[in-house]
Symmetry: C2
Subunit: 198 residues, 2 copies
DNA sequence: CGCAGAGGTTAACCGTCGTTCACGCCGGCG
DNA sequence: CGCCGGCGTGAACGACGGTTAACCTCTGCG
């Protein structure tokens, strides 16, 4: 028999629901051209339907973008917490866990990385606030770890460090896969650790 | 007496021409909301005129964006070349010169940094091509230096390294000046060098 | 003096795009 | 069987925003 969990997983990965297809296609298009430059007709066409069909699945174009950004922020915030918790008590090990996590995410989802920080400004205020809250949570996970690694440093210093490391790792969309994925993972992780502990 | 060079300098810095005012205001607004989200009326209002007045100084909104991005790319490409040339023959010194240059630029022009890589996609094809060519030139300056510092590494490796360092340094808009400027410069330069040489 | 041209203004034009409407198809369920 | 709800379509609507047009006002200069 098939549990609902298996069914959901199956639906997501193997034969995604129309809703899920739309979200994926939209993420890709938004990343390439920017959310304001892609029309609802473009998104529809990318999944083989006409523009207005979108409204059977989302209440508005903004709602699509909102769900996209909220999912990303949640995945990062949750993932960050989990990885640190699983890494034991050593701050250096926690940092490595965070770096691995972020590098994996950035290599797996370059499109989401792009949309995440480019199109936040085109999100209506209430949703934007929720996204920013989640982002802040994720940053704070990093700041906490960095603060333990640099006992003398003030919080602002650690926050700037965190953002700098994000920028470093999230450069993946710019250096489109000329290097193999394992080599890329290794390189970024090494650079990130060096930067974070410098 | 006042040489034409002094006059130009004076005009740019002290009492900028309307054209220059517009370009500055537009850069600020574009950075905050994204070029597609700000109207010509907004830009006009920011310098105290109405929207259509813009067309006395620029042929179109796209032309404004184009000039903005071309200037940035040129400043970076030229500045990069100059700094390396002035740094002597030692690759490590050249790297430090490039890092200093990029950090200064990023701290001086956070708005331009944002517009530079977010709004390139909303630029018409011919101008976008020119901007990309300049960007490539700048990247190549970095790649050349990095290649000499990592004799074993292949070009793709050095290119990824360069983009990662850009991402690191260009994180300035995200960590808005909570840290003092000298401290920020120092921190970023140290992290960048550690990352570049890891 | 008077004209020219630079730089502004308001009003209008028009294409694009998000969104809604009215309708059609189809598959499951009573 | 017959109805109903999920999905999709093409057409139309309405707002917004870039661009143009027509007109006005200064300033400098022959």
């Amino acid at each position: 028999m098939t549990s609902t969990r298996d069914a959901a997983l199956h639906a997501d990965v193997d034969r995604p629901s129309r809703r899920e297809q739309i979200l994926r296609a939209a993420a890709q298009l938004f990343a390439e051209r920017g959310s304001r430059a892609v029309g609802v007709d473009d998104v529809g066409a990318a999944v083989g339907v006409t523009g207005p069909a979108i409204y059977r699945h989302f209440s508005s174009k903004d709602a699509m973008l909102a769900e996209m950004l909220l999912r990303i922020s949640e995945r990062l915030a949750d993932g960050g917490r989990d990885r640190v918790a699983a890494a034991g008590a050593d701050p250096a090990a926690q940092l490595r866990a965070l770096i691995d996590f972020q590098v994996e995410f950035a290599l797996d989802n370059p499109a989401l990385i792009v949309v995440h920080d480019r199109d936040l400004t085109s999100l209506p205020a209430p949703e934007a606030t929720r996204v920013r809250r989640l982002q802040r949570q994720y940053v704070e996970v990093w700041v906490t770890v960095l603060a333990r690694l640099h006992p003398g440093a003030e919080a602002a210093d650690c926050r700037a460090r965190a953002h700098a490391v994000f920028g470093l790792i999230n450069s993946t969309p710019h250096s489109a896969g000329r290097l193999g994925r394992p080599a890329m993972h290794d390189l970024l992780a090494r650079m990130a650790e060096a930067a974070a502990t410098a």
